[in-house]
């Protein structure tokens, strides 16, 4: 049974399309974001003194003149830090304030607190920084040439690469450049530090990871963790950018607050935030692939290079997830993947929705497209023959089954077995299907895959009306159903023909079509992080306050937790409030990341509810429901909670309001608060061998995108997208839909218009929305069909839901693949020059065979705000 499946309680709110927890105050402008907080008495504004070169030896920082300015309250440099100046979430390999060697442009050499922004500006102008410039590197190619890397080579492999290449009918070599991406959360990084008694410090931070902010602040101040409290009410967007890198602003503010004994607000403006904080890792993928004439891949050799920036941050985990997603939805029989993180003189690149997954998936989806081009096949057919099977070809290169654990399979009937067999090309024998349905172990080969060679025949696509083969979903591999359903619903085959004709006849435009998949592994690949605690407090009036380690950044985790708690306690939704996330209520929390916020914290909240409810049942059974008038003996198991009432199932007329029940429990001195805990069972991954079961389950999906490209201007639009997600059984369909649409559009931006442009000295030129173009409302697909697979079988997750935060972003790649498809109809294999993002300039470059521009520009530098906070003065 899935957690939360207990039948007897329900307020019916799980599964409902409840509005976002904060929707009412969001639309009225009354939601309070950190910079909206009225400054405390004596509060100071803070800013950094940025290093003027990307790589250099710091000679001196002269703050004397600046310190004398009236209104300048503190200027701190590295030597003023009593705790650790060296910081990092995994490896402590970055100076918070430059000590001797500056490693990226804008790295702070000093931090300044002043009474207002004007004074702060003046102080910044008065600080004299002497820095000797050293040669700097910015790109992956430069790093490879110079041999500058972070950490060693990571590897994952399976099978026999040479044998696989020998078996191939054809080999292809190639490489793909994948650009980075700016998070562009609308609320820039911000923290307010308020000093307390005896060295304590309260940090209000816009962070996805309050516990890490707490720990890093404590370390930089040199105090125990229990002296620091970090609270986050909400973020104006995070997308991974506030997972580790909310810590720096918090540390700056805390250092200055500790020094001045006054509250300090540190807020980046958008320009500085974009220029000085990390982004999605740019990647370079080098591949050699072998395949049969039917498109089936026999061997794949991959080298992934990630541009990590100046320090480790989360780069190893990002690279690892990229390697773990280099299969995406496709079976790689013989594969060797090698990964490295390049060290460059850029702000340390960091988590960004998808966390390496998008780069890994882009790599293999590009390979699928290349195979199709080489064979003259439709890329969708190449994808179909390579899709993970159910019985055979169903184990990933790291050894995890793409099917659910056998124990979780659904009911078996001859009909469902037949359906499973019929609807899945890879199920060659009905008896295999039968074994799956009966939870019997399958024959296992030497590498964990099916033992005998795959003899499957790819059948013509069965035009099955979607999801009638219900039994077919219970094994968890929904990839075939998703692909075939989408192919059918998007009228892929018909449109493919139309497009071929169009591209032959149109003088001015090109169309392209691509269907891509996603299979996204859910869980932190670092096992430890797969835990959560939650605090549920019930007050004597019956109202409930829940806090968890999950932070709210718009994704709706608070709403889902509220639904789960209301449902679990059998009280109306309005009885429950979810409080701000704070480390003094929930300790040692994991970041709200890896799409896992609801999975972990929802399950922990559920655990707390179950425990407190158990106590309520015990006390109510004898104190209320067993009195003489009812004529029954105490039976805690008979007590029911629903819709704000409590009753004994044997005497339904006995029901009392929830608040009364709570009052009775209080009267009887029963604890009305509980802490719940959840640790994801069964996940484990060995980094050294590259093998294990890193994920609890996979969230799957597919998207089919069509693009229209102007042959003369390279302008591209997206007339139609069809998208289908297997998001399990939704806790909140409206919020899930918002995640899917928003994630897809963000992914589309990454592969189309979002381009990071640097000057030769490392200055970011695309540092504001004038020059960095996230999708606009008019860029969204004119026709955008989004639907969910009805999959109630994901029993391993809370309420059988599936995490949906990141996976849809990876489907944005389909827009890039469609662009490549369009180009290849004109320029053939030269389309392999297309990089990510496919900007108009790049499209024109491929169409007209213009050499790629060097990423160094002349001319006018766009004006940039170099001041710090927007307000608070």
């Amino acid at each position: 049974m899935s957690r939360g499946d207990t039948a007897q309680r329900s307020s019916g709110v799980v599964g409902q399309d409840v509005a976002h927890d904060s929707a009412v105050t969001h639309v009225s402008g009354e939601s309070v974001f950190l910079d909206d907080v009225t400054p405390l008495s004596g509060e100071l504004v803070a800013g950094i003194m940025p290093c003027p070169v990307a790589h250099g030896r710091l000679r001196s920082v002269d703050t004397r003149a600046a310190c004398l300015l009236p209104g300048v309250e503190a200027i701190l440099t590295a030597k003023d830090i009593r705790g650790h100046n060296r910081f990092g979430p995994v490896v402590k390999d970055e100076d918070l304030l430059v000590e001797s060697e500056a490693v990226f442009l804008g790295q702070p050499v000093a931090i300044i607190a002043a009474r207002n922004t004007e004074t702060l500006e003046a102080a910044r102008k008065a600080v004299v920084v002497e820095c000797e410039a050293l040669p700097a590197i910015f790109t992956i190619d430069q790093a490879i040439e110079a041999g500058t890397f972070l950490g060693g080579v990571r590897q994952m492999s399976r099978g026999d690469l040479d044998a696989g290449f020998a078996e191939a009918d054809q080999l292809l070599d190639g490489e793909l450049e994948i650009g980075g991406q700016e998070h562009f959360y609308l609320e820039s990084q911000i923290a307010i530090a308020v000093p307390g008694e005896q060295g304590s410090m309260t940090i209000h931070s816009s962070t996805q990871h309050p516990s890490e902010v707490q720990a890093m602040v404590a370390e930089v101040l040199g105090v125990p963790f229990n002296q620091v409290t970090c609270e986050c009410k909400r973020m104006g967007g995070g997308f991974g950018g506030k997972e580790t890198q909310a810590a720096q602003p918090a540390m700056y503010a805390a250092l200055l607050a500790a020094h001045t004994r006054r509250p300090v607000r540190f807020a980046y403006n958008k320009d500085d935030d974009m220029a000085y904080t990390g982004k999605r890792h740019p990647f370079k993928t080098v591949y050699r692939v072998g395949f049969k004439t039917d498109g089936r891949l026999t061997a794949l050799q991959l080298k992934l290079y990630a541009n990590g920036g100046c320090s480790t941050d989360l780069s190893f985990a990002v690279l690892e997830r990229a390697m773990l997603h280099s299969d995406n939805a496709y079976y790689l029989p013989n594969v060797h993947i090698e990964g490295r993180v390049c060290k460059t003189n850029l702000p340390s690149n960091t988590a960004f929705r998808g966390f390496g997954g998008p780069q890994g998936v882009a790599g293999i989806e590009n390979v699928m497209q290349e195979i199709a081009l080489a064979l003259g096949m439709d890329a969708m057919d190449v994808r179909r023959v390579n899709l993970y099977g159910v019985i055979a070809r169903n184990v990933t290169h790291y050894g995890q089954r793409v099917t659910l654990p056998a124990a979780s399979l659904g009911p078996t009937t001859p009909a469902t077995v037949r359906q499973l067999h019929d609807s899945h090309p890879s199920l060659e024998r009905e008896e295999d299907a039968n074994r799956v349905m009966q939870n019997l172990p399958l024959p296992v080969g030497e590498d964990g895959a099916h033992g005998k060679p795959w003899r499957g025949v790819i059948k013509p696509a069965p035009v099955v009306p979607p999801f009638e083969a219900e039994g077919a979903q219970t094994h968890g591999n929904t990839l075939h159903v998703l692909l075939e359903t989408l192919r059918h619903e998007s009228a892929y085959d018909r449109r493919r023909e139309e497009i071929t004709t169009f591209n032959r006849t149109s003088k001015t435009h090109l169309r392209g079509l691509a269907l891509s998949m996603v299979k996204f592994g859910i869980s932190f690949t670092r096992r430890t992080l797969n835990q959560a605690n939650a605090l549920v407090n019930i007050y004597t009036d019956g109202s409930v306050l829940v806090t968890t380690g999950a932070t709210e950044m718009g994704q709706g985790v608070h709403t889902r937790v509220r639904q789960i708690v209301a449902d679990a306690l059998g009280v109306p939704y309005d009885f429950v409030r979810v409080g701000a996330t704070s480390t003094d209520k929930n300790n040692n929390t994991s970041p709200t990341a890896a799409s896992s916020g609801t999975d972990l914290n929802g399950a922990a909240a559920l655990d707390a509810c179950e425990r407190v409810q158990r106590r309520l049942k015990d006390v109510l059974a004898w104190a209320v429901f067993s009195d003489a008038s009812h004529g029954v003996s105490p039976s805690p198991d008979s007590i029911c909670f629903a819709n704000g009432f409590v009753w004994d199932a044997r005497v339904p007329q006995s029901r009392i309001p929830w608040a009364k029940a709570v009052a009775v429990a209080y009267e009887q001195r029963v604890s009305l608060g509980e802490r719940g805990f959840y640790a994801t069972p069964g996940v484990d991954f060995n980094r050294d061998t590259g093998k294990g079961t890193p994920f609890l389950y996979f969230t799957n999906g597919a998207a089919c995108s069509e693009v229209l490209i102007d042959r003369f201007t390279g302008e591209m639009s997206v007339p139609r997208v069809d998208l289908i997600m297997d998001a399990g059984k939704s806790i909140n369909p409206g919020i899930d839909r918002g995640q899917v649409v928003g994630g897809f559009i963000q992914g589309m931006g990454w592969v189309t218009t979002e381009e990071l442009v640097y000057k030769a000295d490392g200055t970011l030129l695309s540092h504001s929305p004038t020059t960095y173009k996230i999708p606009n409302v008019s860029d969204t697909p004119r026709q955008f069909n989004v639907r969910f697979l009805d999959n109630p079988h994901n029993v391993v997750s809370v309420h059988r839901s599936k995490a949906v935060g990141e996976p849809p972003l990876l489907l944005g790649a389909s827009v890039w693949l469609a662009a490549k498809d369009a180009l290849s109809s004109v320029v053939g294999s030269r389309a392999n020059r297309l990089a990510i993002p496919a900007t108009g300039e790049r499209l024109i470059g491929v169409l007209y065979d213009i050499p790629a521009p060097v990423n160094a520009v002349e001319g006018e530098t766009p004006p940039r705000r170099t001041s710090s906070p927007n307000s608070g003065g």
Partner: protein, 495 residues
């Protein structure tokens, strides 16, 4: 009737400190009367709202008018009725607001309850993180206030100035199309008891470091201009506001023209469209759509509604940026710029107006008062192209304008200009020579494209490499040829 376009100009002398002149600004904020004097007049509107009034529903993200999170409605009385337009408050200056009614997100609730747009946004999950949300509500409120039909298409056009990073916009568009605009109270009904008096005072605010003068008449403006030749001229502030926020410019001496309704008139006669220099781009677009559709269609892609609601054609020309999108278009149309000073006025052909990067023949005592646009005759065609990384609300990599006059299949006359290819907008003289007098054929245009690529000297920058820009300029000509030959059949609708 355009004031300042006809009749002799009578100069009068500006007298600092004369009585009748106010030393403070007065306007309304969410129905409340507000006066501002001293340094606060030089704040951006968003800072004024957030810091001075603690109205923090207005969010600042980019501080350059490109994301719309700070949108507020600004109403001005025109002929006795209030006309409201959404503007980006981060680049609007308080000194522009004299006599207006500013309505922020806090002023849009209806009797303390969510208005129908807000209710629809809640229901449709139109808000995720909530940071951009007030701006979207403001933009939609303007649409409802103007009673624009809430189709998905119209809502999309209305919202191009608002960026959202969470929702992918779909839920916001659903909210926009589901709400009944009839149920949304017009702002006049939301603020029934507030009276907005037309006043024609001029205002002078002087502090130790700043000075701003808001004239009530053109005469006053010209006099001030003559006596303060180095002053910053603020009309819509859509460019200047950015430069101030980014600390490129500081405002020490400001001549604020926004309140000069005389400069906002637009007249159309048989030969010309006469556009007052302070007419907003939104106002220009409305007129041009009717009388010069090919330019109107281009203006639709020009900038976002909040920028067009504030920005003026005069400001666009006065700034003189080589990537100012209107300039190539107006150049090939042979538009005239009308300049005025206390000495009198003169008309200068736009073709000869610019002399270098952001340099023109305008004298320090002059103001642009009007632009005169010749209307297209039956055998004339105007084609305009703007290529940018993102379709909407993006600065061009290249813009190309083409005007031609046909006699049968022969191109009798042609004018070409391109922006983004040099320090100022360039005429494509060699390409013109290739085409002038010749037949309208693809071969001719391919020759012209080669000539154009050779005669421009673009630079590579954040918006594209030099080679890309050269290719684009040539390609736009060839694209134009295809469109001309196909009888204009391939229109924007195809994209």
């Amino acid at each position: 009737m355009s004031i300042g376009l006809t009749g002799p100009f009578a100069a009068s002398s500006w007298q600092g400190g004369r009585c009748g002149m106010r030393d403070h600004l007065q306007f309304h904020l969410n129905g409340e009367h507000v006066t501002v004097s001293g340094d606060d007049a030089f704040l951006t509107l968003s800072d004024f709202l957030r810091q001075r009034r603690r109205l923090t529903g207005t969010k600042v993200v980019c501080a350059e008018g490109d994301c719309g999170s700070c949108s507020v409605l600004v109403g001005r009385s025109v002929d006795g009725t209030m006309r409201y337009a959404a503007v980006t408050s981060c680049i609007a200056l308080v000194l522009q607001l004299d006599g207006t009614h500013v309505v922020s997100i806090e002023g849009l609730k209806d009797d303390g309850r969510l208005n129908p747009i807000q209710q629809a946004m809640v229901k449709c999950h139109g808000a995720q993180c909530g940071f951009c949300t007030p701006g979207f509500v403001v933009s939609l409120y303007q649409m409802a206030n103007d009673r624009i039909a809430n189709t998905r298409e119209n809502a999309t056009r209305c919202l191009v100035g608002n960026l959202c990073r969470c929702t992918g916009y779909d839920s916001i568009l659903r909210a926009a199309t589901e709400v009944s605009f009839d149920s949304v109270k017009p702002l006049d009904a939301l603020y029934p008891s507030t009276t907005f008096a037309d006043d024609d005072d001029d205002v002078l605010i002087e502090t130790t470091t700043h000075r701003v003068y808001k004239p009530a008449t053109l005469e006053q403006a010209l006099t001030y201009r003559q006596e303060h030749p180095t002053c910053s001229i603020v009309s819509g502030a859509t460019d200047l506001g950015v430069l101030v926020n980014k600390r490129v410019r500081t405002l020490t001496d400001v001549l604020a023209l926004g309140g000069l309704t005389a400069l906002r008139n637009i007249d159309v006669d048989a030969q010309h469209i006469h556009i007052g220099a302070a007419a907003t781009l939104t106002e220009v677009e409305a007129v041009v759509n009717e009388h010069l559709p090919s330019l109107g269609e281009f203006l639709a892609w020009f900038g976002s509604p909040p920028i067009k609601n504030a920005g003026t054609l005069g400001g666009n020309l006065g700034t003189g940026s080589p990537i100012g999108d209107s300039i190539p278009a107006l150049m090939v149309m042979n538009a005239d710029v009308e300049l005025a000073s206390v000495q009198g006025r003169r008309r200068v052909g736009l073709i000869t107006f610019y002399t270098g990067y952001r340099q023109s023949v305008m004298r320090p005592d002059e103001l642009i008062v009007a632009i005169h646009l010749p209307r297209l005759q039956a055998n004339e065609t105007l084609k305009l192209y703007k290529v940018s990384k993102r379709k909407d609300l993006d600065i061009s990599s290249v813009s190309v304008a083409l005007w031609l006059k046909r006699r049968g299949d022969i191109i009798e006359d042609i004018r070409l200009a391109a922006g983004g290819v040099g320090p100022m907008v360039m005429r494509l003289a060699n390409a013109q020579d290739v085409l002038r007098g010749g037949p309208l054929t693809l071969e001719q245009f391919e020759r012209a494209a080669r000539a154009a690529r050779d005669e421009i000297k673009p630079i590579g920058d954040v918006r594209g490499s030099a080679e890309y820009r050269k290719t684009l300029v040539g390609n736009c000509l060839i694209k134009a040829c295809h469109e001309l030959m196909d009888g204009e059949s391939i229109q924007r609708s195809a994209t």
